[in-house]
Subunit: 548 residues, 2 copies
């Protein structure tokens, strides 16, 4: 049986565009003599549609689109993803469904049973769980159609997933009773470091358990904070890969399940290269799908803004990025020089605006209010907020979007100023620990110096008071990042982290800082997600609570 | 049977405090010769604990606390709410449980079956659904113990709840088979306008259907954005109220289910008075539970900041509130006068800082960057952001929290400046439409003028350019608020709203503004929730999506 895999990049709520792509995929599959073409989960509306699903007009548009797409399925069958109504008066109003299109009509609808509702997933918010499983027959072949998580009833424990068996049902066990000859799986599995390895192994296990080939088509592209890597694949009944599609790019391929030879798949990827590619795609799609092209950011001479600028330039092109250098009396000349050197290396337009005058006038204006209160962190925050105001002013005036340059380590401990350096439409590095930011910088410089060496080698500093260094108040990033990983990704308590061999006073300090700054992250821009537990929608900690 | 209702205000994660309150409730119930004392849902840890539930150390603390509380249950039984582990290796790791404590130990644990996962609720994220129902016997009486939503398998359609029968199971039908004589219900049902009426009627229906008395204990107090009103009650088997506890305050009462006479309950409350009380409680608990006492805000002379100040002063006291007046060259003298008059009426310390100098210097600094670009909204945003910076500076310097003063109407259409007037730790009026803000002001002035008449009567204006009025670019608030209600609370499409009799061009403009400004609300402070569909956690719209 010849099956086409269409790994496309959809935009949420953009029915006209998505429909065109789906029809294009069907035509291309016909040209390639495929009998069936498979698209990804909720491809008709884009994933995740979130609360648009609460609007009947939205669901109706999905179903209208599916009906129109079905008319193109003559001489070929297709499986597309879209919501469908639950006609039983009990239970949630919708199903997350795979529509089997054949002979110009919707021949059958297959609903998802396992509804991921953890981390960034909220599917039980919208969908009823399916309990009725039916294989379909096409050209004499019996096909089991599954949606994403339905293959994940048993998964290896990992950060963000509390246990291996989150469900009481195995859809594949139900479907296996009907003796299918091949399994189709429509997915929207978001990228995170090592997600591909997990995904590949989960599907391999299922293949081997049921001795069935699996065709797995995953979404590609980014929607706000979520990045989908694609990397769709086909496994034979021994669990060997016989086809793998591009990562971080659209792709299309046709396989004959019987004929093809096993190929070698690299599951243990270079995670820094992957993060790099994911972030570039994340930036590009945020702009492209918003109908915007131009970005700005504040370039400090430090490593975070340097890496952010390189990624933005790769995503959008030099002509679409413009930066501001915003030195104060506390900025070192080498920081300015490093920032200018980078902007020149990348051929990016830059301006230098000294903030000291505004800072001094604002401070004078507040003198009566402050009275005799001594200088403290307030004055550091004022500088950061003047910078935020200037960057937003450039963005507003020129129709640019501001990129946030904070990294995950500083976001975690609250070393950032709300409405200051925490400004931005999207946070590029907010899910990248500082040690990984250094690795990204090295990776970027692999084929020649782009980011000035000095930016990478000098001790990190916010330069908000004379001779300030991050290491004055924080442990080394090598230690800090490990503690943060155990606390954030690992859900471990301070006591449990100390048992792993970390200094108790440092662990307690770090955990206290994270707990005390939830309110800041609550107001941060969306963060491009590259880890299994990013700040934002997938991590929900009470703001008002007692933390010791 | 004498049953005590303990309607207390818990703090999330504050085990020491919550435990003390629970033990205090048990002792007080003993003194009042109760046989059983009932507390609210997840009372041991506070509701909602959110992702703290992913941490085993947190769950273990809950269970340790329950065990300790149980030792106080001698000569009396108690029902407390806490998570428990799901010992079946399949399904979610936890249950949302009611622990029946008697004879000094945990005698049985009763799990919630219906897990609300809509609007602000995320319970299926953490909990497995129960399918095993057992009544308990106490002093010869058979008692059915239920947790909140287990009584809501059938509910009247309402904004935020997509359909009446969200579940395929009725826990009460299961429990009724065991012939209970009374039903206990532990709840954490958050306040919204008319929530009490719905809640009361849902419970009445269940009483009448099963001919059983119900003891319903609800949480009181606010946790970040969610406000719980209390208003616990007892219904006899005819569905008549025989006891109702305070709204927006702690309360404790003991009823003898057999003996008491039916009382009259007002279900149709004055919703403005309720919103007023809810917001005062919301502010108070945000500060109190964060260990803070002092608030600041920017007083413009307009109605939003005036109402916010009155509510803050009621919640925290005059001595704990301090305001800034931040006029510019575009501010009218009457706005300054009105603001000063209000601050004096409330005996609240105020300072006046003119922002013009800072504005002019910042603009001059940016002149080379802006080039010959004409004045536009950029300059308005700069003013708002300088104000935000000054307010945050006062907050940082004095250890105050900044209150945000935006209303729901302007938040909906994006008439606010990110990092400017959208700053703040908590948004007081972000779920209150402008027409309701006017009603609140009238209500506040009911017993004498507190808010200057001129503040209420003058046409709303942001005063960011000469002679600016809200009505220059927006429809009248009477019309705007109705359109917004149908779109936000009602999930209606623009077409469906036009059919209701609104002007098509206006509807399309409003809907477009709401869709185009999701990215702003994403970074807004948490909003005290008083409606069935507030901006924030309970409303999740994609930021990057195609909106026509």
């Amino acid at each position: 049986m010849r099956i086409a895999l269409a790994q496309f990049n959809y935009t949420v709520n953009h029915f006209e565009y998505n429909k065109l792509r789906l029809i294009e995929g069907i035509e291309r599959a016909k040209e390639n003599n495929a009998e069936l073409v498979v698209f990804s989960e909720l491809s008709v509306c884009g994933y995740p549609p979130l609360d648009l699903l609460d609007r009947r007009a939205f669901v109706d548009k999905c179903i209208d689109a599916v009906n129109e797409i079905a008319t193109h399925c003559k001489g070929i069958a297709a499986v597309v993803g879209a919501p469908s109504y639950n006609h039983n008066p009990f239970g949630k109003m919708l199903y997350n469904s795979a529509y089997f299109l054949n002979n110009g009509v919707i021949e059958s609808v297959h609903h998802k049973a396992l509804l991921p509702t953890y981390d960034i997933f909220d599917e039980y918010r919208y969908f009823e769980s399916n309990s009725d499983f039916q294989v379909v027959t096409l050209n004499g072949k019996r096909i089991a159609i599954t949606v994403c998580e339905d293959m994940w009833d048993n998964q290896p424990p990992t950060p963000g997933v509390p246990r291996s068996n989150l469900y009481r049902l195995s859809p594949m066990e139900e479907l296996a009773k009907q003796n299918p000859e091949v399994v189709i799986n429509l997915s929207a599995s978001p990228f995170s470091k090592n997600n591909f390895k997990r995904r590949f192994e989960v599907f391999q296990d299922k293949c081997r358990q049921f001795k069935l080939p699996v065709v797995h088509v995953n979404q590609v592209g980014a929607n706000t904070d979520l990045i989908f890597e694609g990397s769709s694949f086909v496994l034979n009944s021994k669990g060997e890969a016989i086809c793998k599609l591009n990562e971080f790019a659209e792709d299309f391929n046709v396989v004959d399940i019987k004929e093809q030879q096993a190929i070698n798949i690299q599951t243990q990827a270079n995670s820094i290269a992957q993060i790099h590619d994911a972030l570039v795609l994340g930036i590009r799609d945020y702009f492209y799908k918003s109908g915007l092209t131009k970005a700005t950011l504040g370039l400090s001479g430090g490593i975070d803004s340097a890496v952010t600028l390189v990624l933005a330039q790769k995503a959008l092109g030099s002509q679409n990025v413009r930066v501001l250098l915003l030195p104060s009396q506390y900025s070192s000349q080498h920081s300015i020089d490093d920032a200018v050197a980078l902007a020149k290396n990348l051929n990016v337009k830059y301006d230098i605006v000294n903030i000291s005058k505004t800072f001094n006038v604002l401070r004078e204006s507040m003198q009566d209010v402050f009275g005799n209160a001594p200088e403290d962190i307030t004055e550091e925050n004022i500088q950061a907020r003047i910078r935020g105001t200037m960057l937003m002013a450039l963005s507003n005036k020129m129709g640019h979007l501001l990129l946030n340059t904070s990294n995950k380590s500083e976001a975690a401990v609250g070393y950032g100023t709300l409405y200051g350096d925490m400004c931005g439409a999207i946070s590029v590095l907010g899910d990248v620990y500082k040690t990984e930011v250094f690795a990204l910088a090295q990776y970027i410089n692999e084929n020649g110096e782009v980011i000035p060496k000095n930016t990478i080698n000098k001790p990190p500093s916010a330069e908000l008071r004379p001779d300030q260094k991050d290491s004055d108040s924080l442990p080394d990033y090598e230690v800090l990042d490990k503690i943060l990983y155990h606390f954030i990704e690992g859900h471990k308590s301070a006591d449990e982290i100390v048992v792993l061999g970390f200094n108790e006073a440092i662990v307690n300090k770090v955990v206290k800082l994270v707990n005390a700054t939830e309110h800041k992250r609550m107001q941060s821009p969306p963060i491009l997600r590259v880890s299994p537990k990013a700040f934002g929608f997938g991590r929900r900690i009470p703001i008002v609570a007692k933390f010791i």
